[in-house]
């Protein structure tokens, strides 16, 4: 048996998006040995796709804004399923995190008096999103990347973690990974591990997620004994591109609507006025004139309904299309051309202009865009302690999209970038504390288990005949889109779970050709188990949660059930599980919110 490449660290961080890099910076600044492991090159993570901005109640544009309003908006947007403590920490700390970025070199757009400019976004009461045109995610990731580089953090690029390792006491001891360029395996022993692997969107057909969004972190955490909560809460972003087919799902930033864009159906009607839910009636405009006044002065009118939370808008678009009032390619029209000058559009939304021009041949300063819902974000995820990101597995921490609880059943736009920063830092601190407190040097890894996991990952090479991983991925995506899409029903979910069992059998029969070096077929084969695990969790959660709430919409239970609004659905597996093992799901009560925070929610909007 050849010796494996091996590394010892105090803290390893899996995933180098915003949360991962922020955690790495925090742990490294504590003087620990830190490794950052990512599936792609550094700086390519899905965070770059975030466009609109980072939500932080700095009050630079509206002095009335403060963390309490942000907290309230976040809880209401999440339909009260959020972990109150996470929402509180998030609202309180995000201004500091944004300003910290500036100290590291970020260049946000400015107000006239030189402060950070903030823009309007769906569900946020005040203009709150610090932004850089429509490429805020890129700014964030580049700033963190440059900070990480200046701290000399060890980075393992194009290195995919297949499994976490745990010790006899159930604590995490390290990870097994392989280098994508060579296909050679590598092991990491670490006192603490931070998961920051992002989302799961690649299991759907129309998604804004890149190939990386395969839920690796959710899956390895579950397999290692951690808990996943509310996996049924999947956000479908209301505005993805719908045409040409090859770009279907690519995101169209909410900033288009924040900056004045409106949604119209094929009859030219601003249909969002017909879909204002009772919960939002008090603060949403009921006429076009009132909505239009709001853009210039938020005190002159109530918010336009285009800026309702994402779940509301996505469902409304879906209904319009179903009612036969959709655009030629099955979406609706997003029109900013007739409402803002070409110059303003190009300055405020440069990458949207570019994206439509190059990919669809549409000039958004002249024509309306065709848009429709696209799978975007998972609110559910690994259950963590709000203050330090600790999971139920000792030594394992999680932050960012892979963690659950922060956003409840629906995330507000702009809250993900602030989530990354706030909880990335906290998970980094938590992991550093844990590593410092863990006795002895790095834990010993169990050789036989490592071999087992490596053999498992290499199994597809051993079969001469078998399933093509691309076919399997395609079938999974088709199935999830149809059965576990934006609108769900009990029978469809039952069918989904049956089909997932069939897919699991087929994954056990995958065969790949060629060598191990940069073999995308094999890489996909090693992603599929995670995709199946998270898809199963989503389908299970969706079946169990018999209500409609945020990212979970049940046609057979169209109303929110107040009782279920106090419940998390928790998925579990015994430690050492895998995608073939059974996943158990159980309802558990949400943590009780302190009275002073409850009072904030009661307060009528000013």
């Amino acid at each position: 048996m050849t010796t494996l490449e091996h590394h010892d660290y105090d803290v390893i961080i899996i995933g180098a998006g915003g949360a991962g890099m922020r955690a790495a910076i925090e742990a490294k600044e504590r003087g620990l040995r830190v490794a950052l492991i990512c599936k792609s090159l550094l700086g390519k993570a899905h965070t770059v796709m975030a466009e609109g901005g980072v939500a932080a109640a700095m009050g630079n544009v509206y002095e009335e804004d403060n963390w309490k309003v942000h907290f309230r908006d976040t809880m209401r947007g999440g339909k009260m399923l959020n972990h109150w403590r996470m929402a509180q920490l998030h609202a309180q700390e995000s201004p500091d995190r944004v300003q910290e970025l500036e100290k590291w070199g970020a260049l946000f757009d400015r107000t006239k008096d030189g402060k950070i400019l903030q823009r309007d976004f769906g569900g946020h009461r005040y203009a709150r999103l610090a932004h850089v045109g429509d490429r805020t995610g890129l700014e964030l990731i580049r700033t963190l990347q440059q900070k990480a580089v200046s701290l000399d953090i060890d980075v393992f690029m194009e290195c995919k973690v297949v499994r976490l390792l745990t010790g006899d006491d159930g604590s995490v001891t390290g990870a097994v990974a392989y280098w994508r360029p060579t296909g050679e395996f590598v092991t990491f022993a670490a006192k603490a591990v931070v998961l920051a692997t992002g989302g799961v969107g690649k299991s759907w057909k129309f998604t804004s997620n890149s190939w990386e969004g395969t839920g690796d972190g959710h899956a390895v955490a579950l397999w290692a004994g951690a808990e996943l909560i509310d996996m049924e809460c999947v956000q479908f972003h209301p505005t993805g591109m719908v045409w040409p087919l090859s770009v279907r799902g690519i995101l169209v930033t909410e900033g288009v609507r924040g900056d004045g864009g409106v949604l119209k159906n094929s009859e030219g009607e601003r249909f969002m006025f017909n879909y204002i839910a009772d919960m939002f009636k008090a603060e949403t405009a009921d006429s076009e004139a009132e909505a239009d006044r709001w853009y210039d002065d938020h005190t002159a009118g109530r918010r336009p309904p285009e800026l309702l939370p994402r779940d509301e808008v996505a469902r409304s678009i879906n209904s319009e299309v179903k009612a036969g009032r959709g655009s030629p390619h099955g979406g609706v029209f997003l029109d900013i051309a007739s409402r803002r000058s070409a110059e303003v559009i190009r300055r405020r939304l440069p990458s949207m202009y570019h994206q439509f021009m190059e990919l669809a041949g549409v000039d958004i300063t002249q024509e309306a865009m065709e848009v429709g819902p696209t799978c975007h974000y998972i609110m559910g995820g690994v259950r963590v302690e709000p203050d330090n990101g600790a999971t139920s597995v000792p030594g394992l921490f999680a932050a960012g999209e892979v963690s659950g609880g922060m956003h409840g059943s629906n995330r507000l736009g702009g809250n993900s970038l602030s989530d990354l920063l706030v909880f990335g830092r906290r998970a980094g601190m938590g992991a550093a504390d844990f590593a410092e407190g863990r006795a002895g040097d790095v834990p010993k890894l169990e050789e036989s288990l490592i071999r087992h996991y490596i053999d498992e990952a290499l199994e597809p090479f051993t079969r001469d005949e078998g399933e093509n991983p691309y076919d399997l991925q395609h079938d999974l995506q088709e199935m999830m889109q149809t059965n576990v899409g934006i609108i769900r029903t009990g029978p469809e979910l039952d069918e989904a779970l049956e089909k997932l069992e069939v897919l699991k059998e087929r994954v056990n029969n995958i065969s790949v050709k060629g060598g191990r070096a940069y073999n995308p077929g094999w890489n996909l084969a090693t992603d599929l188990p995670a995709m199946l695990t998270v898809s199963t969790c989503v389908a299970l959660g969706a079946r169990e949660r018999k209500e409609s709430r945020g990212g979970q919409t049940r046609e057979d239970f169209p109303k929110a059930d107040p009782e279920l609004g106090k419940i998390n659905f928790v998925s579990r597996q015994p430690a050492g599980g895998g995608f073939n093992e059974e996943i158990k799901i159980s309802p558990e009560p949400l943590p009780e919110m302190p009275d002073e925070l409850k009072a904030l929610l009661e307060e009528a909007p000013k």
Binding site: R33, L41, G114, V149, S150, D152, I153, D154, V155, F156, M157, E158, W179, P181, T182
Partner: protein, 280 residues
């Protein structure tokens, strides 16, 4: 494989150890491009060569560069202005003259506009590509054995561009003065506008545009400051020249053509081949 190893010092100023070599991908050919990438260098070479040949001849020939009062005009070729030697034809000079310079007066002064264009960031691009073939076109191989760019002698002298720019400004003033003189029509009504007037005026305007759009000018106007907000006037200047700078290439070509045209036109007038048509 891309590990970035921990190093003892935070910043390492040594040359990067080149572990970066290795087999390149793609076929070992000078280019995979199949489009006609060579058209652009061919055009550049033809135009620049024609200009150099013409300008050399025109500079050495030392006559027919001034259409004076005998022709009821005051038109001087930009190649010969300012005319500073004792050999300058009567009327063409407005300053004390140098007697020891006996060859063509053009050769005394042409070094400045020539130097300005030779060290110009745009012309550098043009001739490095088309004459030097370093590289002839993007993703077409530059087959020189070694390459040090502008980091060593003699090309390090490209850095004096801003001084040629300053001299260029002096020339612009003189050639603007020439353009004003071109309105004078001694013995034909005193002042007027002829084709020659228009040519010399456009020549002066284009030379100003070429100079003001220069990259050094943009830098000196305001590009060099760290904060525009602290230097509002520098920002105004910078904002004025920035759109011009974007058209520097166009100005470089058009002004080159018009300079040659001015010389050729005046040459034809001065030699009596044609008469300068008076418009009004």
């Amino acid at each position: 494989m891309t590990t970035v190893e921990n190093s003892a010092t935070r910043v390492d100023n040594s040359e990067t150890p080149v572990v970066l070599g290795g087999t390149r991908g793609g076929p070992d050919v000078s280019t995979v491009r199949k489009d006609r990438w060579w058209i652009s260098p061919v055009i550049t070479v033809s135009i620049l060569t024609s200009f150099v040949v013409y300008a050399t001849w025109a500079a050495f020939v030392g006559k027919n560069y001034y259409a004076g009062s005998s022709l009821h005009r005051d038109l001087i070729s930009p190649f010969y202005s300012p005319c500073l030697t004792a050999s300058c034809v009567p009327g063409s000079t407005h300053s004390p003259t140098i007697s020891w310079w006996t060859i063509s007066p053009a050769l005394l002064i042409l070094i400045f506009p020539l130097g300005f264009r030779l060290t110009c960031y745009y012309y550098r691009r043009a001739y490095y590509r088309s004459f030097w073939w370093a590289p002839p076109a993007c993703s077409v191989v530059d087959s020189h054995k070694s390459y040090s760019g502008e980091s060593r002698f003699p090309l390090i002298f490209q850095n004096v561009h801003r001084y040629f720019f300053y001299f260029g400004l002096i020339f612009n003033v003189i050639l603007t003065y020439d353009a004003i003189l071109a309105f004078s029509m001694p013995g034909e009504g005193g002042i007027g506008v002829s084709i020659g007037t228009l040519i010399l005026c456009s020549n002066a305007v284009l030379l100003w545009l070429y100079s003001l759009s220069c990259h050094s000018c943009r830098h000196l106007c305001g590009g060099q400051v760290r904060s525009f907000a602290k230097h509002p006037w520098r920002h105004k200047f910078w904002k004025f020249v920035t759109p011009l700078n974007a058209k520097h290439m166009q100005f470089a070509w058009i002004s080159l053509f018009v300079v040659a045209l001015s010389d050729a036109y005046i040459r034809l007038v001065a030699s009596g081949t044609i008469t300068d048509f008076k418009i009004f």
